[in-house]
Symmetry: C2
Subunit: 424 residues, 2 copies
């Protein structure tokens, strides 16, 4: 893609009124735009990142045999009343038609246990229909009194929610572990280090649940954890300052909750008569689980984790482009030719072809946008391309005819240092 | 995919309270589920169709150089008030936080001229920044007093909306024609025959606009058209029963509006100060266009257009699967082997592997679900597979070892008749 064709531009200054790194960089770089407090538009660069996050999540959900669906945001009051959640604070309410003075009849979906249990009832009647699970990637709404943390806690955000259906508590336990395994794979692919932390069940369950926490000062949770044995509890359920599992010290940190898993048991099955018949014809409630993963929040967390004072440093798996190719010379034809070679070789490349922008501005934009590899063609580099990683200062000079092959090879070798390039 | 693993099952009877073909077949076949009047969940089979529709639309929007974004559904009152659309009947309203008794502060997005003009202001300042266009694929909300037509007119639905930005009315006219061209390509790929009809601008513009209408009795519009010269007007602006373009007769028909295109001119640019500077430093308002395409409505329209008394007949381009492979015999191993061969050959296949279902039920399900090709393996067919199109009665017998190759070839030949198979 040519940068001169891009819908967005970067801003010269940070946005006013934003305190978090994620909102500052994502807005300044043209990834998102603020519509109102806690509400953001995702712009082309941001959507490229978000789609890559979504696809990684999708692949791992499909891999554990889950099927994708899309439930509505307008959830009829009758659903929430069955579960007693109509008056939960975070529900946005609205009416069915223009009579806005009537009592509200819809609650905007912030979670979908009620709707999914009601759907499942149509397709689960026998033990033969179990286990099953479905998930969706959907915009969610939460009436936050005070939206904060940029895209970490919005009033509107993108989320993946999976719901599982099992015959017994034992089967649910197995499914729960399987989803935790899939989440670990997802966060590894996203380049995020997470700690599985015990927490309270909130509005979902009275049992303890687990959260995936990224240790980061921008988080709103406080967690206590031990590096040695993996012990970790959210402050909300942490009582004593010691633990018995090992002799390691308990540390305290702020954490960003990027995902959570809940064993719902038969709570929602009871509300919605979600029942199956076993081999003997006896009837039982279905055991449900609920598993959330914040997609826009993951994007924001990655910015909090991977940036320096110049801008974002995207992990390769979700970078909007694999390579930022910058032309500094006066020979546009030569740069255009390199761009064509790179495209033809299947390199996902952003080409800074702008003629009316200084080299300094191009580098500043490139650092801000944070594509992991940068290639420069200038009069100084002559017949060679200057290649550099976003987070390294080492520079290599590469023959034009070698660049596509080299970048492709380097792209596949995600962990590779620039110093490895010479030996290829 | 094995049918025994599927989350959904078909229903024995049509759903109660649904009058349209699309809602009847889509619910009975397990494509969608009704949550409340005008609000549907999209289930795995339905989402497979919808994603294929979305991808065709995406490809054609990208092909005309548009970039994808995602704007919010929670649109601050300040946006709507600038354009005077805060009190439009179809806006669902809600509050920013739990104080539900306060006056509403958000209107749920049913269209995004306001938000997009405000975003564009950040990136369009000079004639060099034009022309530009962006689009989104997003859930929309309309407070319909009476939801009707199944998925043809819902309170919540998926839509593609594109917005264009041009320097002059003349440039806008060109962009308008370019989007109309892309729409024609989309509907051709979707297998839908559309008529471009002149209509009123509704809440968008005072100028006449154009709608893409599918002639179908399930539609809520009445249009007048001439087969010979392409004349076509919506009843709302049609005055005389004659036209001067040619001597052809004017016919009347019901129509489903699957897309619309609006020349907004500078209306929204004025509200949001969307201004560019020309080569001489003079300032002008940007000329905008707005182009909608109903994605869930397209899915419903296709069901209205392509079905018989047994069920749906999906066009190949958006069928949930390319082939329905049905095993009737007792030799599961043999059927499993054919399934593996088909998968390995890259055929998108739904495999009816169910053991506890009669042949009659399998055929009824297959006709209802409407995958364009059906392959049967039974004790009767022996070493051969019985191959049939959903909408034809001709049957061919094909060697097991030939099936994958044959189906793949046939799949590529979208218009091919079964009779062509023998010669391959």
């Amino acid at each position: 893609m040519k940068q001169s064709d891009f819908f967005t531009k970067t801003y010269k200054a940070f946005p006013e009124g934003e305190e978090t790194k994620n909102a500052k960089f994502l807005i300044k770089g043209g990834f998102v735009s603020k519509a109102s407090s806690g509400v953001y538009s995702i712009l082309p660069l941001g959507l490229r990142v978000l789609k890559k996050i979504n696809n990684i999540v999708r692949e791992e959900m499909d891999a554990i045999g889950s099927e994708e669906i899309l439930m509505p945001s307008l959830i009829d009051r009758k659903y929430w009343e069955k579960s007693g959640r109509w008056n939960v604070d975070v529900v946005y309410k609205t009416n069915k038609n223009k009579k806005q003075d009537n009592e509200a009849e819809f609650g905007l979906g912030w979670t979908h246990e009620e709707v999914v249990a009601d759907i499942a009832k149509n397709f689960i009647q026998s033990y033969k229909d179990l286990p099953k699970s479905i998930y969706q990637i959907q915009t969610k709404f939460r009436a936050e009194t005070r939206a904060q943390g940029g895209l970490l806690r919005g009033r509107e955000f993108l989320m993946k929610d999976l719901y599982s259906f099992d015959k017994t508590q034992e089967d649910l336990n197995k499914t729960y572990e399987r989803v935790i395994g899939a989440y670990k794979t997802i966060f590894k692919r996203l380049g995020l280090k997470t700690i599985v932390t015990e927490a309270s069940g909130g509005d979902f369950t009275k049992e303890y649940t687990h959260e995936f926490q990224v240790l980061n000062d921008a988080g709103e949770d406080t967690i206590y954890f031990c590096d040695e044995c993996g012990f970790s509890k959210n402050k909300e359920i942490y009582i004593e300052k010691t633990h018995t599992k090992c002799k390691g010290d308990i540390k305290e940190s702020r954490g960003i909750e990027v995902a959570n898993v809940f064993k719902l048991g038969i709570r929602y099955s009871k509300y919605f008569d979600l029942i199956y018949q076993d081999e003997n014809g006896d009837k039982h409630f279905v055991f449900m689980g609920s598993y959330g993963l914040g997609l826009t929040r993951v994007m924001a967390t990655i910015v909090e984790e991977f940036s320096d004072d110049k801008g974002i440093i995207w992990p390769e798996s979700i970078s909007p482009f694999a390579l930022h190719f910058i032309s500094l010379g006066k020979n546009n034809k030569s740069a255009d030719r390199v761009f064509e070679i790179l495209k033809k070789a299947g390199v996902e490349v952003l080409y800074d072809d702008r003629n009316d922008v200084s080299a300094g501005e191009k580098f500043a934009d490139s650092d801000l946008i944070g594509i992991p590899y940068r290639a420069i063609l200038s009069d100084k580099t002559g017949e060679k391309i200057e290649l550099k990683k976003r987070d390294e200062s080492d520079v290599k000079f590469v023959e034009i005819r070698e660049i596509a092959k080299l970048i492709k090879g380097e792209m596949q070798d995600a962990g590779g240092k620039m110093t490895n390039l010479a030996s290829k």
